[in-house]
């Protein structure tokens, strides 16, 4: 067997392994989606659920599954996918697992703008999403400009992002505290993220965003991977560096903003999805699609746990936050111990 054959078969084998891993996660997502449609106060079998989804009228199930559980599950799926894809884009581009949009304040910007649009301006969902997108872009730009000093150092960007996030969180707290009544479900959604009270109308902008921006990000996946070798090397390999970077950032920020406008800043999904996907999928390929799937699985699973595992019902953000924070601590300990520069 010639060297070329060895290389080719190895490459085919590895890309098949990556595909299998991604398919495995996808199966998990489908299973979690199906379970969230079936489980509830009344259990409906797969047959009934399928009939409702296909548009038939089933007494009882049509309302419970079609009107309550289906929008909620779809919202969880879309939010998780959007956050996962956007998070891993940031992490890949800045070479740092900590540079995820929920830690450096981009999500906080979207959330502050969405709360302002809802509580103060009383806008409807489409305009709220638009507000969130503009604010998230402005926040990302502000963080970039503030941390620019003879080039952007990753550490400085993260610390400045943490500062900006703290400020924006207090804006959210103020807007909510000053709202006419301390409306608990709304407050919880905007403080930690929740998929409660999902409706088709709130879902629509996010669905369009995922369908448009998701493929845009995936189209940049190969170039983004080459960027990891450094700007010069990537340019030598034929990547248009600035174009790739700008398109990826715009698409990722857009996804974050639409997801946040629909479900609030669901804690730590953007941060967790990339590293988890990297553990499951063999190295060598782009992580954008696997991370999106992992994100969807995280949100669907966390919502199931939050709704049914305890006496009280918790919004999804509490569960992802409680799982994500220990992982963040673990990541810090591990990086510190290996002496890596964060």
């Amino acid at each position: 067997m010639s060297t070329l054959d060895v290389v080719t078969t190895g490459r085919v084998r590895r890309s098949r392994a990556r595909l299998l891993a991604a398919l495995g996660i996808a199966v998990g997502v489908v299973a979690a989606f199906a379970i969230s449609l079936m489980v509830g106060h009344t259990f409906y079998g797969p047959g009934e659920v399928l009939r409702v989804v296909l548009g038939e009228t089933v007494p009882g199930a049509s309302f419970t599954v079609g009107e309550l559980r289906l929008p909620r599950a779809v919202l969880a799926l879309l939010v998780g996918g959007a956050l996962g894809m956007a998070g891993v884009t940031f992490q890949t581009m800045l070479h740092n697992a900590l540079a995820s949009p929920d830690i450096i304040g981009v999500s906080a910007g979207a959330s502050a703008a969405a709360v302002f649009a809802i509580v103060v301006l009383h806008l409807d969902q489409g305009l709220v999403s638009l507000f969130a997108v503009v604010a998230a872009l402005a926040t990302a730009l502000a963080i970039y400009v503030l941390s620019y000093q003879d080039g952007v150092a990753g550490t400085r960007l993260i610390l400045i992002g943490i500062g900006i996030a703290a400020m924006l969180h207090s804006v959210v707290s103020y807007l909510l505290a000053g709202a006419a009544a301390w409306d608990l479900p709304a407050a919880m959604r905007w403080m930690i993220g929740s998929v409660n009270d999902a409706e088709w109308s709130t879902l629509a902008p996010l669905a369009i965003a995922v369908l448009v921006l998701g493929p845009v990000l995936v189209s940049q996946a190969g170039n983004l991977r080459l960027l990891q070798f450094g700007d010069d090397a990537a340019a030598a390999l034929g990547v248009r560096v600035e174009r790739t970077r700008v398109i990826s950032i715009l698409a990722a920020v857009g996804l974050i903003a639409f997801a946040t406008a629909a479900a609030g800043p669901v804690a730590f999904v953007a941060f967790l999805a990339g590293p988890i996907a990297a553990r499951i999928v063999p190295a060598g390929g782009s992580l954008i699609v696997p991370a999106g799937l992992v994100g969807a699985l995280l949100v669907l699973g966390a919502d199931l746990v939050g709704q049914w595992a305890f006496d009280a019902r918790y919004p999804v953000g509490v569960i992802t936050g409680a799982c994500g924070a220990p992982y963040l601590v673990y990541l810090l300990v591990r990086t510190n111990r290996s002496g890596g520069s964060l």
């Binding site: 500062g163 400020m167 009280a312 964060l342």
Partner: protein, 352 residues
């Protein structure tokens, strides 16, 4: 001893005794000026609020009358002002001690997860163990602050380079995020009491009563004394552990005393006012410009300026959003975060 340990400004080539005297005079002058400003802010805090009050009413209320509505409002603002000053002073001192102790310009009890730790401990105590008395709050808050402080320091100092500002801040941010999630998880099923608990998520001084403040006061005094006892030690620590030990300073003892002092102050302040971030970060940086690097001058100066800042933030919160109020914890974050960013920008990337 203390002369050789005095900070750079005093050991400059012209550091004669005459120079030291003038510098002491200058610092006393600054301290006096900040005390006067604090007094003015205190008067403003009693005068301004949701309701406009005439000067004559303020005077008559201060002399003990509370018959008219205006006088009653003033009587209610006095404990609030007192509380804001105490909490602000405590947080300012905590920030200075922690920045000295960790040699970290970004140290702040809120950012490092210590106040969220105290807050979580109080919320858990209220929800599961029927905690109700201010005394109980304070002990539990101090316990929670201590556990959080040790945890964050251990996580942040693992690995090469020890506890660098970046590692400590990240560990603090991670721990704060975890605590905040847990606070929400504990609070959520208890919707009926959520409104009074909300205070433990934002931080404010609106619910002040004189009795509660007086009950927590002994803890603040003990914490302040411990911090005061560590001042010369902190000056030595600024030279680095090895040099400080070589000069005869007992490094471990200084660390323990200073840590106990700041955790006590921080826990007591959180028990009184909930989690308030950024005061401990901003105040020491401002005070170093006025009072220099010597902790014996820095701590009193931080106490006065911290008290002034928090009281001023409280007054602003009452005046800006009339007739509503902005919780003081929100305003301090809005004022403090830009300062935090400015400090980060000034550091060299490698020093982080």
């Amino acid at each position: 001893m203390s002369a050789t340990l005095a900070p750079p400004s005093d050991t400059s080539p012209s550091g004669t005794s005459a120079h030291r005297r003038t510098s002491a005079a200058r610092r006393s002058a600054w301290l006096a000026v900040s005390l006067v400003v604090l007094g003015l802010i205190g008067v403003a805090s009693i005068t301004f609020g949701a309701r406009e009050i005439a000067w004559s009413d303020v005077v008559s209320a201060l002399s003990g009358n509370d018959e008219t509505l205006a006088e009653a409002a003033v009587a209610k603002r006095i404990p609030r002002t007192f509380l804001a000053m105490l909490v602000g002073a405590a947080l300012g001192v905590v920030g200075a001690v922690m920045q000295g102790l960790t040699r970290n310009p970004l140290a702040d009890p809120g950012l490092l997860g210590i106040t969220p730790g105290a807050s979580l401990a109080v919320v858990v105590g209220m929800a599961f163990f029927g905690l109700g008395s201010p005394m109980g709050f304070t002990w539990v808050a101090i316990g929670g602050a201590a556990v959080a402080a040790v945890f964050v320091y251990v996580v942040g100092s693992i690995g090469r380079g020890g506890a660098t500002p970046l590692k400590l801040t990240l560990a603090g941010a991670a721990v704060s995020a975890a605590f905040t999630s847990l606070i929400s998880a504990v609070l959520l099923p208890r919707i009926d009491v959520m409104d009074s608990f909300r205070f433990w998520q934002i931080g404010g001084v609106g619910g002040a009563t004189a009795e509660r403040t007086l009950q927590v006061l002994p803890f603040l005094v003990v914490g302040a004394l411990l911090s005061a006892a560590s001042t010369t030690g902190l000056n030595a620590l600024a030279l680095g552990d090895d040099l400080a030990a070589g000069l005869g300073e007992r490094v471990v003892r200084t660390r323990v005393v200073a840590a106990l002092g700041s955790v006590t102050l921080c826990g007591a302040a959180t028990a009184l006012a909930g989690p308030i971030a950024f005061v401990g970060l901003v105040v020491p940086h401002a005070c170093r410009l006025l009072a220099g690097l010597d902790h014996r001058w820095l701590l009193p100066s931080c106490a006065v300026v911290g008290a002034g800042l928090l009281t001023l933030a409280d007054v602003l919160g009452r005046v800006v959003a009339r007739p509503d109020e902005i919780d003081v914890g929100i305003l301090t974050a809005l004022i403090g975060a830009p300062v935090f960013i400015a400090i980060v920008r000034r550091q060299k990337a490698r020093a982080l």
